[in-house]
Every structure is written in C-alpha cells, then in structure tokens.
Subunit: 258 residues, 2 copies
Amino acid sequence: MEPHVGANSQRRGPSEYHLMAIVEYDGTEYLGFQIQRRGRTVQGEIERALAVVTQQQVRIVGAGRTDAGVHAKGQVIHFTVSWSHALADLQRALNAVLPADVAIIELREAPPGFHARYSARSREYVYTIYNGAVRSPLAARYAYHFAKPLDARAMDQACACLVGTHDFLPFGWPPRGENTVRTVYRARCQREGDFVYVELEADAFLRAMVRRIVGNLLLVGTGELAVEGFARLLSLKHRRTPAVAVPAHGLCLVRVNY
Amino acid sequence: MEPHVGANSQRRGPSEYHLMAIVEYDGTEYLGFQIQRRGRTVQGEIERALAVVTQQQVRIVGAGRTDAGVHAKGQVIHFTVSWSHALADLQRALNAVLPADVAIIELREAPPGFHARYSARSREYVYTIYNGAVRSPLAARYAYHFAKPLDARAMDQACACLVGTHDFLPFGWPPRGENTVRTVYRARCQREGDFVYVELEADAFLRAMVRRIVGNLLLVGTGELAVEGFARLLSLKHRRTPAVAVPAHGLCLVRVNY
C-alpha cells in the first residue's frame, strides 16, 4: 500500500488530482473554446499542453463554449490528471508550453464532484463598444467600433427589462430544440469616455445570446428602437429580432461563479 | 485669376493644403514609423493611402520616429496636398484605405510653417508594465510582463531625478555623435492594480531612451538598485547602465504638444 499522500509536495509517487483552472485567452486566432475536428481551439491548445507536460491524454471541460473570436478573462475548466510535483509547477509548465494567447491564471484542487459547466451558478460577460467617431487601432482588437453616438442611458434602461427569468428564444441562435428559458441576474450598460460596456450575468446563455441582445441594444442607443419596443422583443415567439448579432471580438467571458 | 478659396467646402478646383494629422497605430506589425527601403512602416502605409486617395506622391513628416513594435495614440504628422473636397472627406477616405492597425484620428489645416517634428514643444510617452505573477494574454499586446513584484513608489522616486535638463547619454542608444542633452518635464511611475505605468514627457527623446530608462527603473522596483544608485546613472560618461532596454511593445507615444 502507498502511504497516504495529501496536497503537500513531499510525496514521491504521482497522485490523481481533480483540478480546476481559471483560463484567460485572446480569442482572435481561435475557432472558439470547444475542440473541433479541424482548426485551432482553446480546448485543443490546453489539452495539447497537458499532453506535453504530463504525458497523459487529458480531456478538459470548460464552463462556457465561447464562439470563434470571443475572448475570456475568466473561463473555468476542470480536469483530472496524475501529477507528482507541486501544482504551482504544473501551472508554470503549462504556461511555458501554451501559446502566448492562452494562459492558466489560477490552478487549484477542485472540490469533490466539481464540474466546470454543471456546477456553475452564473456566467458574466462584458461586451465592449468603442463609440468614437473614428475607428481606434489600439481598441480594435477587444472592442467593436460603432461610430454613431449611443445613448448609453437608454440602453441601460432597456437592459433592466432583461433581468429575471424569461424565455430568451428570440435572442437564441441557432434553433436547437433546447430549453430556452434562462435567468438573467444582472444587466447594465454604462459609458466610460468613448467606450460603452454592456455587462450581463445569467445562470447560462444561449448561443450568440449576448451578441444578439447587444445588437438590438444598439438600436435603442441610436433611437431607432424605443425601450418599450426592446422590452417587447422578449415576448416574440420567433428569432427575427430587428438586429443581427454584433461581432465576436467585442465579447469577453469575464467570470464564472460557483 | 482664380477666385479666392477659403476653408469652405463650396470650392470647385483643388486647393493646396498644409495639413496636420493625429495618427493612432498598433505598432506590432511594423518595423517602426519611418519609411525604410524594405518592410512595413507606418509612414509607408500612410503615404500609400495618400497616393491612392489623392493620386499624388505625398511625403509626410512625423513628430517622432517610433521604433519597431512601438505603438502610438497621438503621433502627429504634417504634409502638403492638393484636395478639392472637404477635409472630413479626405480623412474618411484615408481611414477607409489604411490598414486596420493605423488610423487618422484628427485631420486639420496646420498653421503656416507648422512642422510636425521641429515645431513640437514636447512628446509624452507611456510605458506599460503588467506586474501580475502569471502572464496575461489579454494584456500581452500592449504591456510588458514583469512577474517579480515591483515597488512602484521607489520607481516613482527614481523618476523624480530625471526631471530637468541633463545629458542623457547614458540612456541613449546607439551612439550617433548627436547632442544628447534633453529636458524632461515630467517623469512619474504609478501602479493601478497589476499594471505599472511609467510616464515621461520631454522636449525630445534619444533613440531607445524611454525603454532604457524603464529597464533601469525595474531594477529600482525590485530593490536591486537604490534610488540614489539610479540617480548616479545620469552622471555616467558611457552607455553601460546596469539594465538593457525593455521590449518595444509596452511603449506608446501618447501625445505631442505644440
């Protein structure tokens, strides 16, 4: 029998760890988080780094399947791996092997039964709009340029009607036959100089939901759609809202709460 | 004789304009501002855009020759061009033709005799350090990652001794036989969360001067060099300071004052 090994780094043999990690990435060069048959994905890069560092085929599970081009400051993943050194060493080794646009920000043991996706109570996203008259090369990578002046206060009022439990089918895309009822805990819009931020927190999001909500909020911001008109979109029984989704590069998964 | 044409947009024929523009760029993909025989430069891209839009070979002059990889939020250029429409149309056309990482933020008529470089009273640079323990993919493009904790207050104290008129030869690179006396108007260092910003304003800067100053300031920040030791570097008669230049991608030319 092996002697009992705890979380200390004195142990000799490898231990099986159930781990959770906070992952930050610049999504510009990725087809999204989730692994696909072809093309560069964040999951693919992390699993490749785990294979290099641990010599094991490790499958990771992420809290949110961010789309192509979407960034993350606080994506959460879990995985199980054998490791015989300190966790800080595993984190350092992974970050040394990962490409520059992905990093493991935190790595720690997960509670028993922890599941990055199913254990999550809520996800927080921020969509960043650069609302200057002229496009900004230094803001272009992480903010969507929208030149027409936006009334962020009206957009914030429209946000208020999203809070609560609703059928978000009108903002869901594409149809999937899944349950489209979600609970939004927080929805706000605020301006800081030339930047307008839309912040949304919900138990979970439908695919492209944040970007389709923001697309319609922009119509409120320009005065093309009244706050009441925006509120009525929630009762639509189809997905033909006035606006399409805004581009992915303004979106960032900032935090997952457990 | 042509009738008198002013700045109004009613005129028919082209007028010769002496213009100044504020230029913003992401320097990541450039060999620097100044045009070179080969390779991508900001000046080259702007002159190419001017040629496309105005059908003229226009030579531009910039206030500062930023090095390869250095960014700018407020580079200033001047040039002379014939144009028969509104200046706003010229700006829009240039921004439509320029690549996504360069933009003309402002365009207006320059005072007679205005020279972007020689008329400048001072230049302001900011060097951004990301001082978190783990590298940040979302900060990586515009901030230099330095993992050891930095004492920004000590760095700020060291900055104070840069203010005034000094021979900056120890921080100049490479040797050029030019006058190395410069006047620093403002030098400060401050922390905001995991970011540390070094802000410098001077009448002009020697090549790589900001990056070599910051390199040595980092030694102050880690405690390897005392504030007094940093102050003594200014009286060196050679260029062998303890630290080398920090990387270009943390540096941004934020403003030129006239």
